[in-house]
Amino acid sequence: MPAMDLLLSRYRNLTVLLIAVIAQLLLLAYQVRGRQEARLIRVWAVTGVMPLARLLESVRATTTGLVRDYVAVLGAREQSRRLTADVARLKLENQYLKNELATAERARALEAFQTRSPSKTIAARIIGTGSGANSKVVFVDRGSASGVARGMAVITEDGIVGKVVAAYPTASQVVLITDPTFAVGVISQNSRIHGTLKGQGHSVCMVDHVQNEEKVGIGEWFFTSGDDRVFPKGLPVGRAKIARQGKFVQEIYLVPSGLERGLEEVLVVLEGVHQAIPESPQAPQPLKLLDPPPPEVSADAEPAPARRGPETDADRLSERYRRVGSAQGHVFGEGLPGTRPPDFNLNPASPPTKAPVGAPPKP
């Protein structure tokens, strides 16, 4: 026994190793030879480890879900940002296409007017404005190379716009109708009153040199008169917005019709042809009226009372004068001043009065 104690104390580690290995070898042999399992050890191990694995898997699934949701939110945010950018871009494109469409429509209208107008014109596009806050000057993309010369009229299908004050090879400077230095002879449509239109530096122009006695109505159209030798006669200028008595002459302000829809394309009149001033810029629309209603017929309707004799003193006096005139062969309204008037003192014969129906004849 002392030898055994010595062995265990001296080779304790080796002894433990041998015991552990042999025990496990026996365990192995038990399982392999007997085809049986040491189930209890496995149950302990699985029961101890698998709940932790399940917890780990739960944490992983939750974390993965959170990360996936977060990524999805990030993706949605990115998608939203991209869609917002797309909407903004499409809005810009839509606005651009609308502008293009409006430009095409204006160009088509201008081309139609150019074809219809007897004057020789050339289309031009506004490409710039003059410097200065109060400047009412624009530049067009047609110059002397295109036949444009100083003093030529610039118009649109709606009315006059201005006139060329300087022509350069590739561009021309046009002073607008609203410029304070601009003036053009005009004539009103209805009463044919001549005047001079002057720019005021803002959107309304003034028609000068119209006497107070002349009658100009609000909304009356003014056309170019051709007196200035720049604008051909008959081009629309604008409608009177204000027309009132002034100290010496009337104060008439009108809105230029050529500038009402903005300026992008214009026509430069190369060779002007005078036109007649239209009677009315807008032909009266035929008014459709229904037929008059048929008269109501009823059995107990009384016939309309026959016209009776004069009922007032004026009627009786008018009847007397008529009989005086007819008796003396005088026609009222035709006698010249100084001719003999009818004798109103004569008593003309009274007209025979109708005997009432059913009355006995006079003897």
Binding site: R12, N13, L14, V16, L17, A20, V21, Q24, L25, L27, L28, Q31, V32, E37, A38, I41, R42, W44, A45, V46, G48, V49, L52, A53, L56, E57
Partner: protein, 174 residues
């Protein structure tokens, strides 16, 4: 990152005064290692070759420096590992028993805090573990497993590379 110890390959300063570990860590760390081994390969297949229970066995045996405790520790971890495998109980148990014994014995002669020593020990014991498992599987179970030295060395290097920071982390837990 600096790892503790760089005092040479020998002359362990801990001889005669083994590390004292909290019992909680002694249980929790190997369980976590086994848990990772059975769980991580579900997502990353190469983690199958990462023998964390082996590395934990080596670490604790090296630190304790007592072969008897290394034997018991390795046998326990190996048996739990066997329980979660399809093998008969005792295969990993015997192998890790030997690993625990020899690693504890080695710690008496080397400075196990040295990074290079840890790396080499990690490589060596992985190779040792795989080789003995192959021997036991062929001898006791009659399985015709293939032992590819190159592949084993490659995975040994991977485990050794993991062993260095893992041992450092376990040092911090103490």
């Amino acid at each position: 990152m600096s790892f503790p110890g760089n005092r040479g390959w020998q002359a362990s300063v801990r001889r005669g005064r083994p590390y004292r570990w909290r019992p909680l860590w002694l249980v929790l760390v190997p369980v976590t290692a086994i848990l990772f081994q059975v769980y991580l390969p579900l997502f990353i297949r190469y983690f199958t070759y990462l023998e964390l229970p082996l590395l934990v066995t080596v670490y604790f045996s090296l630190k304790r420096g007592r072969p008897a405790q290394g034997v018991l520790y390795g046998a326990s971890i190996g048996l739990v590992q066997d329980s979660l495998s399809s093998n008969p109980l005792g295969m990993f148990g015997i192998v890790k028993t030997l690993v625990g014994y020899f690693s504890a014995s080695v710690s008496l002669r080397f400075d196990v805090d040295n990074i290079l020593v840890r790396f080499l020990l990690g490589l060596f014991f992985f190779f040792f573990h795989q080789f003995f498992y192959w021997v036991l599987a062929r001898a006791l179970l009659g399985q015709s497993l293939e032992f590819v030295i190159g592949q084993t060395l490659l995975f040994g290097l991977m485990n050794a590379a993991v062993a260095v920071p893992l041992f450092h982390l376990l040092d911090k837990l103490n």
